[in-house]
Symmetry: C2
Subunit: 261 residues, 2 copies
């Protein structure tokens, strides 16, 4: 396939889903073909793109269990060029269902690679995987399947503290099941100009992780949190808001960094 | 023991840890003896109360595995009357370690009840359990151990969508391993007067869940998110800020509701 990017951070509420939806939309707006894989039993990425409950009967859980191929599971969205593998609560049974499979962490990798074998060049330019807030079998499947991982980091103290845990998990996967996995970068989210905390966190993270931290910073912007209730990405709900601009810039920076890497 | 309250919601970043720390502190300030059990491998409640990594060698993981009794695991904090069972990354191995135990969901319940048998009246008035952002073995242990569950709800669209999932899980536990479990209430958090989204979400939740929703609303207040970097609850870091006032009011409402219940 094209580049498979996992959007992961075990800290909750840092902007994983908001980043997956809006980065995906911004890339699709550049005439790229994008697939969003919703790996969270909360199904927020699916909800944010307007996928109704009745249209998730076949979903990422079936993909992981090998009960349905990618072509059957994925469906179009109201964003041209952006497809999605939707998710619902079924996914929370994946832990138990895959227990006895020694290769349980490679299920998603296999499903994506097999789909690519069937349609090598007709596939997607980018596959973006939205992960749940934990380091469980779902997030590990995403890290094993991915070429690279993007870590959204809320500009808050607890989120900064949690950075070492996700970086440790990535290193473990690199040493084990996916040596080619690389860290695409850290994206600062919900940056609030009005308080010092955001600036302090941003400065500290840039000092420790330097070039890994993207130049593009996603500001705290209420339009980003209003958009899901309208079942649209912010880029469609309010294309001129600061949040949308930031995600378009993020897509640009991601593409530019790819050329350099 | 006294009343055991689980603070739970699988949606990430809704204010579970902030509520556990500051509600615990507000109850301790009323001369009540409070124990905070950190059930999250992120260990944010432990960090927010200044427990260093070297002081978490014995932690909630040992309590769950039965390797150490409550008296050995719990330790004092800088808040008079507030003890904590600290947590660290060890806890993320609990899933696998408890796999073969048919009673794996009752481990915390057993540890707390056994401690109470040893010191019936000398124990705690309140035990508050901070849960991770998932419905896994850790959160289920908390729901099986608890008398009641408090659900923090961020005033955002995705968080509101997720309310049915936590309510479903609570019902399953009530029908199964813990029939006495009751829903203490829903606490609206990060309410932002500046935008309509908070007001819309609050109105919708009050309409659906009516009396279950606490009168006390926790405002978005940067002092709440600054406090953990000083290793203090907001009630000590800045006792007069809107966030601290709200948590003191929450403790008052919780006590009053208990008399009525
Ligand atoms: N830059 C932003 N400005 C304002 N609100 C935001 C921003 N990014 C995300 N939000 C809102 O903050 C909340 C948390 O974001 P989101 O759900 O994307 O995080 P997450 O990491 O996917 O959460 P989870 O850990 O539960 O999966 C959501 O209600 C979202 O709408
Ligand atoms: N009322 C508030 N006003 C402003 N910031 C807040 C408020 N409540 C919590 N925060 C901040 O928002 C972030 C998320 O809160 P917190 O970590 O308590 O949520 P959580 O539900 O415990 O997250 P997780 O799902 O990762 O366990 C933290 O950085 C915290 O400091
Ligand atoms: Mg999410
Ligand atoms: Mg927490």
């Amino acid at each position: 396939p094209g580049q498979i990017i996992a959007v992961a951070n075990q800290k909750g509420g840092v902007g994983k889903t908001t980043t997956a939806i809006n980065l995906g939309t911004a890339l699709a707006a550049m005439q790229l073909r994008v697939l969003l894989v919703d790996m969270d039993p909360q199904g927020n990425a699916s909800t944010g793109l307007g996928i109704k409950g009745r249209d998730r009967k076949v979903n990422t859980y079936d993909l992981l269990l090998g009960d349905a191929p990618l072509e059957t599971v994925c469906t179009g969205t109201r964003v041209p060029g952006l497809d999605i593998c939707p998710a619902n609560g079924d996914l929370s049974s994946a832990d138990v269902a895959l227990l006895d499979d020694p290769h349980r962490l490679r299920r998603l990798r296999r499903a994506l690679r097999e789909a690519d074998d069937r349609t090598p060049r007709g596939g997607y330019d980018y596959v973006i995987i939205d992960c749940p807030p934990s380091l469980n079998v779902l997030t590990l499947n995403a890290l094993v399947a991915a070429h690279a991982v993007l870590v959204p980091l809320q500009c808050e103290f607890f989120a900064m503290e949690g950075l070492t845990q996700i970086m440790d998990s990535i290193r473990k996967v690199q040493r084990g099941q996916n040596p080619e996995l690389r860290v695409l970068g850290i994206v600062l989210t919900m940056f609030d100009r009005r308080n010092n905390l955001s600036a302090d966190v941003a400065a500290e993270v840039r000092e420790i992780y330097s070039d890994l931290v993207y130049e593009t910073v996603i500001p705290r912007n209420v339009r980003l949190s209003e958009a899901p209730s309208h079942e649209k990405p912010a880029l469609i709900y309010d294309p001129y808001c600061p949040g949308s601009h930031a995600y378009v810039a993020l897509a640009g920076e991601l593409r530019a960094r790819r050329r350099i890497a």
